[in-house]
Amino acid sequence: MAYGSDIDALGNAHRYILSADANDSVGTNHGTNSGGVFTGVKICEDTTNSYLTDGVDDRIVLPSITTINNSAQSRKAVCGWFSATGIQNPPKNIYGEGDAAQSFRFILGWGNNLVFEVDSASFTLQVFGDTPLEVDRPYHLCMVFEGRGYGNEIRAYLDGVEQLNAEPTNRQPASATLTARSAGEFGDPAGIVAVGGTEVILLAPINGQYAQWAMFDGTNAVLTDTEIREELFEKGATPTVTITNQAGLDALADTVRANSPLCILVNVAGSISLSADNVTFDPSASIHVQYNGTGTLTWTNSNGANASIGSTTSSGTIVFTEDVTVSVTCLDATDGTPIEDALVYVVDSSAGVVINTLTNPSGIATGTFGYISDDVISSVSKVRKGTASPYYKTSPITGTIKSTGLTTTILMIGDE
């Protein structure tokens, strides 16, 4: 199903794709563009372009309508994709409804820091983004208002992750409804608006880019965390790179995947196992690996790879494992000298053979284990040297393979 349909399945009242025009793809509340252009780069799925505010006075004005602004709403939600090509100097309005007294607004300023702000006569509530927005990196923004008769909270999300730093900290509007306010606007507000109750002339983001904005009202506006993360963000995230097999992943070996909504899409219908060779991820990347198949993707981090944030869009499963080393050192119990050519046999709790080899001149045998959780090795694990002199009695090997692997020393008893 296309991303736009995934959004609409959640019951939104309006959706502005903003790829070619300002039209409402769900209803008929079509917006009016003033100054902006629809030639911005693609910033999310199911679009070809984005709406670009290339001047600080550019805007799209949405007709006043009860399902967006022109009623006292007890529940409402607005979400969409946004990206900027630079740090904005004065404060900017990404999207807002209302004026200096009543508002529902996404604001950017002081180094591209985000404020999700809702104002009414009885409260001013701000939720702050956890991180400043990087330039040329699309983000999914979402804000949900629930009045006192419902959840009594304002929730804000960045890439589907709830932002909890707020003032006041309880994020409770303590008001049944959000009073009717002036019409919604992308970009430069036509009137005087405010930040934190102080009047501020906000402008349109220079080279702000918009796509797939949706407005929800009433019951359908009470979006869950899962819906916001998985349906609205993950399904809309555009991958930086798409792979279909191990060769595709091998081509990414020894790379650091840049900060983006989605770093790697594994486009495979069925189950697949992939091993990543020192593929690491910028700490701010929102999704490391997305799998759109219906089977199981087993992703093994090897040689320093560190994928950990997965996403599935078609009921599939991702299992992350990590290669760790199991090392057994065999020494003579009497004098501590290394024992070469002892046969080491280590089996994990799932009967998988981890080591089945002879020790080297340093008395060491090693193997690799795909770590998911701590694993107590099987009681059949043992070491012996009975084929060439000097002989040693069979010794059991015990231990637990942890996230750092397992290193153990076995002192062996000489045999006749």
Binding site: G55, V56, G86, I87, Q88, N89, P90, P91, I107, G109, W110, G111, N113, L114, V115, T124, Q126, F128, G129, P132, N165, E167, V195, G196, G197, T198, E199, V200, I201, L202, L203, I206, L331, A333, T334, D335, G336, S395, P396, T398, G399, T407, T408, T409, I410, L411, I413
Partner: protein, 983 residues
């Protein structure tokens, strides 16, 4: 040209290699320690005796190797070489066992030499072993040569042996002496020398030794009066014939208190086996002239294998109280008047100890400070064959000892730890003043102390400088602070309140020497000069003193300590104001403060008059900043500080969830925003500094600092023109509501003006402004402005190392929250010290985890989950800090048959070769618990090989002893030992 003249040279820098066998090292001495009179001269390694006279010659030198590739032995030999020939007098030996933790050897000797004028002296060292791996080098700061002219009128005797003597476990007297020189008062019969006149005598014994086998041998020579050993008159030679170590030497000297007609013999003894005392051994006696002032202490117990400990002496058999003060049982002999003195010491053992190996060293200290050209040491080995005997001893001429100073012998461990008891010890001090000069030495000015522990602060009043030879009248005398030890560089004359021969009171003017190590010079009226190293800026300086004492002091400085005054300029901060700004006694946001300045309404502000070096002139470089604290997350866009307004400005602005931002705006030229890397935590003080640099300075890179750390994000850098124009809108803390403030770049269209408000609430303290300077980020911004002012959550007060450890133990299992400084640690009264931190952790946003106030070395041991960040360890007063991990060594013991755990098994793990620890250092010696586990912690510095064993043989199921081998790595060591049942 007189008895009592002397010359001292030392080695400060040479690391010359002691070559392999077959070559020699004739040593150079790079530093003249002291030259009194005209006893001798020095040039390029050669000393030349000035006069035809008897001389006392003393030397010591230390050598080390880092080679541990094998366990071979090194034999060192040292000789006094006169006119190209080696003397037996003063011969010395050294011994290194390379892979057993004994990497160092000391060679020292004493001799009386009857010189002819122009005789030359060279110190020659060589190796007798046949090891070829690694190198052996001189250790700087341990070696020295001292040459003292004696008086030929004093009685002297010299005897030497005419044949070898066997040194075996059968005690024997040395009898085959011949009289080389025997003056009045001495007579010899066979092996006994009888002295007719009572008094103090200096006695020396020197000889070389040899063996032909490969066994370990320890042999001793000791002095008997009649048939009773003279305590502390014992020397020793150790040999292990393997690796070519078949030659040794022995020498020692002591002051002997003689009664009339006492008869003395030298006797030999050994553990087992035998070695040869070669023919030509020398025995010398020299009668101290009448009027000598001497103190002699002796010991028959006490551990010599200690580090940094002044050895205590049991008895005080002789003391001339005109020159000395001492008490039996103490470590020190005190000089009553300023003097030069000869010091002799000997630490001998003759009862076997359990310690397998050891290498104690002794050095003379004055008031706790080692005179580094004095040293002695000897190797001890306890095996099945030897271990009873060992002795080391030496001598040193200690010059310019201030009156009432304590003379001590300080021991150090150069090998393994473990007790080595002294059964025959001697420590004596002989005053050169009383000996020849009748207190006529021309003493230099000595600066010994200031009453603030060598720590002073700018503008500190009534500082007392003590010492000697300042002269009674100041006259042209003066006290100065200087930048360089040799009196070059910057010097600042201090204000003198009072002056006497031993004490001067001054008021401090540190000027540009602030925050640095400096030197305090006292110049007497006659032009003599003394010096003492001092720290300028150590606690208890206040933060204000630190700021005002900066080399680049600010143009304006507002402390806001209940005053709006500009402490440096004249820009009183509240020339105009709005609302109700106040001073609060709480919170205090900077260390040591009494107040902070508070804005708590949107209309509050204060404003000084316009300043040419801030807002009303074009300027190319500026810094503005200080301490502030917000009490909440601000919803409104607020001005914390601003200069200028709608056209040009510099401003610190808050908003967007306390994501504050510093901007510099010039309508026609440029616009820069500087962001903080974090959002500001309410009720947490911060130190902010904003920097504007025009294009001609530092590439026009404008910067902001939070808690002294350069912030990473900005927009608009670099500044593209040569100045920031005049921005004449008011300077304000808070926002003066009459004018909106421009935000954005006027050169395009991306700008707007905003009617900001003042922050509600914000506390301020210690703000400052600089123009036309560039501050050093590490020293000025981080250390002085942040680290010295950061308020700490908890303070570990000054005390002994043990007391401070107790204090920090009370902080175990604490997580320190976001704050400028978590733990402040004062200096330790013990000097360098170590503290272990037990599971003390810190939030990431803590700016400084530890602030150390001292100037010595603080070693911090991270134990049990403690993780320190070296970047967040502050030491703004010059102290060094070292981080060491304490890692677990865990041994689990199980039955090999059924893998059940074994309780009460004894686990014993010791250091093996190849690590930093001396071999055999015990790491774990414990019994397993109910889980079969024995654990210990090791302070990890590098991978440490270990060896050991585990056994259970005393109760219940018995097990055969199992070996342990492994290496402790940075994460520790975890072993499972499977034990075999025994019957």
């Amino acid at each position: 040209m007189a008895a009592g003249d002397f010359l001292i040279y030392r080695n400060d820098s040479s690391t010359a290699t002691l070559p392999n066998a077959g070559s020699n090292l004739d040593t150079l001495w790079d530093t003249e320690e002291y030259d009194e009179g005209s006893a001798a001269t020095y040039s390029s390694g050669t000393f030349t005796f000035t006069n035809t006279a008897p001389y006392l010659v003393i030397y010591s030198e230390r050598f080390s190797t880092t080679d541990t590739t094998n366990n071979e032995r090194i034999e060192g030999q040292g000789r006094l070489r006169i006119n190209g020939s080696d003397l037996i007098e003063g011969a010395s030996e050294g011994y290194i066992r390379k892979s057993s933790g004994h990497q160092t050897m000391v060679m020292s000797g004493v001799a009386i030499y009857n010189a002819t004028a122009t005789d030359t002296l060279v110190l020659r060292f060589w190796r007798g072993d046949n090891s070829t791996s690694g190198t052996v080098v001189r250790d700087p700061d341990f070696g020295g040569v001292q040459i003292i002219q004696l008086d030929a009128a004093d009685d002297f005797a010299r005897y030497s042996t005419t044949a070898t003597n066997t040194m075996s476990s059968t005690e024997a007297s040395i009898t085959n002496w011949t009289n080389d020189q025997e003056e009045t008062g001495f007579s010899r019969s066979s092996g006994a020398v009888t002295i007719s006149t009572a008094g103090r005598y200096l006695m020396t014994v020197s000889g070389t030794t040899s063996e032909t086998g490969t066994s370990r041998i320890g042999a001793t020579v000791f002095l008997e009066r009649g048939t009773t050993e003279v305590t502390g008159a014992r020397t020793y030679s150790h040999m292990r014939g393997a690796d070519g170590n078949q030659n040794g030497a022995l020498s020692f000297a002591a002051i002997v208190d003689v009664s009339a007609s006492d008869a003395f013999t030298l006797r030999t003894d050994a553990d087992s086996g035998s070695m040869t005392l070669d023919s030509g051994a020398v025995w010398q006696w020299w009668q101290l002239p009448s009027g000598n002032e001497t103190a002699i202490m002796e010991a028959t117990n006490g551990d010599m294998n200690t580090s940094g400990v002044d050895f205590a002496w049991d008895t005080l058999p002789h003391i001339d109280t005109a020159g000395f003060t001492a008490t039996a049982g103490n470590a020190n002999i005190d000089v009553d008047q300023g003097c030069h003195a000869l010091v002799f010491w000997n630490q001998g053992k003759k009862v076997i100890d359990s310690t397998q190996r050891g290498y104690p060293m002794g050095q003379v200290a004055v008031d706790g400070t080692v005179r580094n050209y004095s040293a002695s040491g000897a190797y001890h080995r306890n095996s099945s064959s030897i271990g009873t005997f060992m002795a080391h001893g030496g001598a040193a001429l200690i010059h310019t000892i201030p009156a009432n100073s304590e003379i001590t012998l300080k021991n150090s461990i150069l090998g393994a730890s473990g007790t080595l008891d002294v059964e025959s010890g001697h420590f004596s001090v002989l005053n050169l003043e009383g000996l020849y000069k009748s207190y006529s030495y021309d003493f230099p000015v000595i600066v010994t102390d200031i009453d603030t522990d060598e720590a002073i602060t700018n503008a500190q009043l009534n500082v007392v400088v003590t010492g000697a030879e300042f002269e009674a009248v100041q006259g042209t005398g003066k006290v100065e602070l200087g930048s360089d030890f040799d009196y070059s560089g910057t010097k600042i004359t201090q204000s003198v309140d009072s002056w006497s021969d031993t004490s001067i009171q001054i008021d401090i003017t540190s000027g540009v020497l602030a925050d640095t190590q400096a030197f305090l010079f006292v110049t007497s009226d006659s032009g003599k000069r003394g010096v003492l190293a001092v720290q300028v800026g150590l606690p208890p300086e206040t933060y204000q003193e630190a700021v005002e004492g900066m080399t680049l002091a600010p143009d304006h400085y507002w402390t806001f300590q209940n005053t709006y005054a500009d402490e440096i300029g004249s820009a009183t901060a509240n020339t105009s104001s709005g609302g109700s700004p106040t001073f609060a006694t709480s919170p205090k946001i900077v260390k040591g403060d009494t107040h902070s300045f508070l804005l708590d309404a949107e209309t509050d502000y204060i404003s000084p008059a316009d300043q040419g070096d801030m807002n009303t002139s074009a300027i190319a470089r500026r810094y503005i900043g200080g301490w502030f604290m917000l009490d909440s997350v601000s919803q409104s866009l607020a001005v914390l500080y601003e200069e200028g307004a709608q056209v040009n400005n510099m401003a610190l602005l808050n908003g967007f969830g306390n994501n504050a931002m510093f901007q510099i705006a010039n309508a026609n030229d440029d616009y820069v925003q500087l962001y903080f890397d974090i959002s500001l935590t309410p009720n947490r003080p911060y130190f902010f500094l904003g920097k504007m640099a025009a294009s001609g300075f530092e590439s026009g890179n404008c910067e902001s600092f939070l808690d002294g750390v350069l912030q990473s994000r900005s927009n608009g850098n670099p500044w593209e023109t040569t100045q920031l124009d005049s921005h004449s809108g008011n300077i304000t803390w808070g926002h003066e509501g009459t004018e909106a403030l421009k935000v954005g770049d006027d050169r395009g269209v991306d700008a707007t003006t905003i009617a900001f408000v003042s922050p509600v609430s914000c506390n301020y303290a210690h703000w400052f402004s600089w123009s036309d300077v560039t501050l050093n980020i590490a020293t000025d911004i981080r250390q002085t402005l942040f680290e010295k002012g950061a308020p700490a959550e908890v303070t570990i007060s000054e005390g002994t190392e043990a007391a401070m450890q107790t204090s920090i133990d009370a902080l175990a299992d604490t997580l320190y929250l976001d704050w400028p400084c978590s733990i402040e640690i004062a200096a330790c009264t013990d000097g360098n010290f170590t503290l272990s931190l037990d599971n003390i952790t810190f939030e990431d946003r803590v700016s400084m985890q530890i602030r150390y106030l001292g100037a010595d070395t603080l070693t911090l041991v991270q134990e049990n989950g403690t993780v320190l960040d070296s970047v967040k360890i502050g030491s703004p007063y010059g102290g060094a800090t070292t981080l060491i991990d304490s890692v677990p060594v865990t041994v689990t013991v199980r039955d090999i048959n059924d893998l059940t755990i074994i309780e009460d098994a004894i686990v014993y793990i010791i250091a093996d070769t190849g690590g930093d620890l001396p071999v055999d250092t015990v790491i774990l010696n414990d019994t397993t618990n109910a889980s079969g586990i024995a654990t210990a912690n090791l302070q990890y510095t590098s991978n440490q090989p270990v060896t050991g064993r585990v056994r259970k043989a005393s109760s219940g199921q018995l097990y055969k002893t199992a070996g342990i081998s492994g290496t402790v790595v940075s994460t520790g060591l975890e072993l499972t030992i499977l034990m075999i049942r025994d019957n």
